[in-house]
Amino acid sequence: MGLVLPLLIFLGVTFLAPLGTMLVRSVYDPVVADALPATLTALREWNGEGLPPEAAYEAAAGEIGAAREARTLGQVASRANRLQSGLRGVFTRTGRDLREVVEGPWRDAMAAIDSAWVDPGTWHAIRAAGERITARHYLNALDMQRLADGSVARQPEERRIYLPLLWRTLLVSLAITVFCLVLGYPIAHLIAHARPRRAGLLLALVLVPFWTSLLVRTTSWIVLLQTQGVVNDLLVAIGLIGDDGRLSMVYNMTGTLVAMTHVLLPFMVLPLYSVMRSIPPLHMRAAASMGATPAQAFRRVYWPQTLPGVGAGSLLVFILAIGYYITPALVGGSSGQLISNMVAYHMQTSLNWGLAAALGALLLVGVLVLYLLYDRLVGVERMSLG
């Protein structure tokens, strides 16, 4: 136990704490609450109908000015903007123009700067953004929204983004798993029952891609599949397609499917191979001697014995596929993106880290469930590397 402790502590700091931070981020967002405390207190008096009391306007005017001074107004504005689009500009304008206003009534002053301040929706958005501990990132990640009366409803059909994407990720992962099984099963069988020298050579053909850099393999697929690429050139050269009929096989879903199947195929072949190797050839001969056709012998004798390998390989490929990021990002174009790419988008481009964290947390839970299933069915200690 003492020997394991250093690593457990190390992982605790370098891995579990970061995951924990992400989970906290997905429900905790203090920016608005810290910047507009008095405004939010004043809004507690407000029943949500009509406009809030003058006290809320006065507090908001003071705190928006202070946030502008402290340079946090942009962060506050972008959070409010996510709940009601257009509010970013409202905050920026108000912060700028309020400097000229020295006394109330604040409601009229703010309404003069922007009519959004006499729209109750603005105040609902501020109140919602002010929740320190919030479920809104998860609601957002599940394509739901909180209505003004506090009830939760699904987004209208055309505004649903994440559930369809989650669904697409599952389907794509499933398709890749099936492709890997269909391609991997025969070659695992061939390697497992070949003579040792040849088996070693064939196994090397599986291990070379396994060891080759992922970026290299992804680049190769771009080179092969792009419109002016090797495969299209070849098809044109042999006259199968015309020069104007070049296929688009990359920067779309086809690219994602082909490249990911290639990348994940070794993870299917290796467990299959190790299971098949332990099946004595005698079993098939015995089945044949008792009158089974090759198909019957395969179905009733061989296939059932390979099921542990099929399960292990399929689960591993599926687990790796649903969280895949690099390959879809590089060859997926816009139609071949998966849920991980959305996490990256919100981390790097939209900077909506709370939503990125919530999407990441949902993905993490999914992977965790599959990992536990893998442990139950296969056992993590039996995970081997080639």
């Binding site: 250093p6 457990l8 370098t14 891995f15 992922l214 290299v216 771009i222 290639h262 990021y325 590397l385």
Partner: protein, 268 residues
């Protein structure tokens, strides 16, 4: 009988296609990296084996381009440090996991291997949040710790596998002859599990050497590694120099593969 024959031929043809699918993309890269033109496909000259159409210009470009050489240095510094860290911690943990007195073995093994199955985008996002708080974002140390974490499962898996073939009587014999635990480890256990440890280390190094997502999230300009530079190349200014780097990485992967296979054969 004829049906069986046809089936056999079909099966072998299918397998051949799959092997081509596996290897062709990697092989195609190599000749294309000698393209004299800035294209990603075979020019007519190349197909005619015209020596003018083949050139080393992309190799010259990567050797002379400071971005790539700095990337190589960063990759090596981060990769070697992360590997050392992962190998020491992972080997110790594997020794602990393999001891018969280990409590909650299954749970802890699962925990130690979890960085391997966690989607790297999630790990990278979490590390970005957490390491930024610690001031470790955009530092080499931060990336070393992150890469060591991602490489650890490989060390644990390979060393545990080697230890499962290890005869515990050997350590008992050493102890009965008066060797302390440290001496027993150094003179009896370590030489026997060394191939597993080295394999694990190579896996960990390969992981770090190919890692791009964490670098993307946490690394600054000063921490650009080779994969990060490739990523930028593929996304932004695509040039066949990438194919030259790719060829270098393929040769590197082959070297790693043969070393690991050689070690495996020696161990068994």
């Amino acid at each position: 009988m004829i049906g069986a024959r046809v089936g056999r031929i079909g099966y072998l043809a299918f397998c051949t296609c799959v092997f081509i699918f596996l290897v062709a993309p990697i092989i195609v890269i190599v000749p294309l990296s000698f393209n004299a033109e800035p294209y990603f496909t075979f020019t007519e000259g190349m197909l005619r084996l015209d020596p003018e159409a083949w050139s080393l210009r992309w190799y010259r470009e990567i050797v002379e381009n400071e971005a790539w050489t700095r990337g190589l240095v960063n990759s090596l510094v981060i990769g070697v440090s992360a590997t050392l860290l992962a190998t020491v911690l992972g080997t110790l943990a594997a020794l602990g996991l393999s001891s018969p007195a280990m409590p909650a073995r299954r749970f802890i093994t699962g925990l130690l291997i979890s960085p391997m199955v966690t989607p790297v985008i999630i790990a990278a996002a979490g590390m970005f949040f957490f390491y930024t708080n610690l001031g470790l974002a955009q530092t080499h140390l931060g990336l070393i710790l992150a890469h060591a974490t991602l490489g650890l499962p490989f060390v644990v898996i390979t060393v545990v596998a080697t230890l499962s073939a290890f005869d515990r009587n050997l350590t008992r014999a050493a102890a009965s002859l008066g060797a302390g635990p440290v001496r027993t480890f150094r003179t009896v256990q370590l030489p026997l599990i060394a191939p597993g440890v080295i394999s694990g280390a190579l896996f960990a190094f390969a992981t770090s050497f190919d890692e791009v997502v964490v670098v993307l999230f946490m690394g600054g300009l000063e921490q650009r590694t080779i994969p990060r530079q490739m990523w930028a190349g593929i996304r932004e200014q695509i040039s066949p120099a990438i194919l030259a780097v790719a060829t270098f990485l393929i040769v590197f992967a082959l070297a790693l593969l043969f070393t690991v296979e050689w070690l495996r054969r020696r161990a068994s």
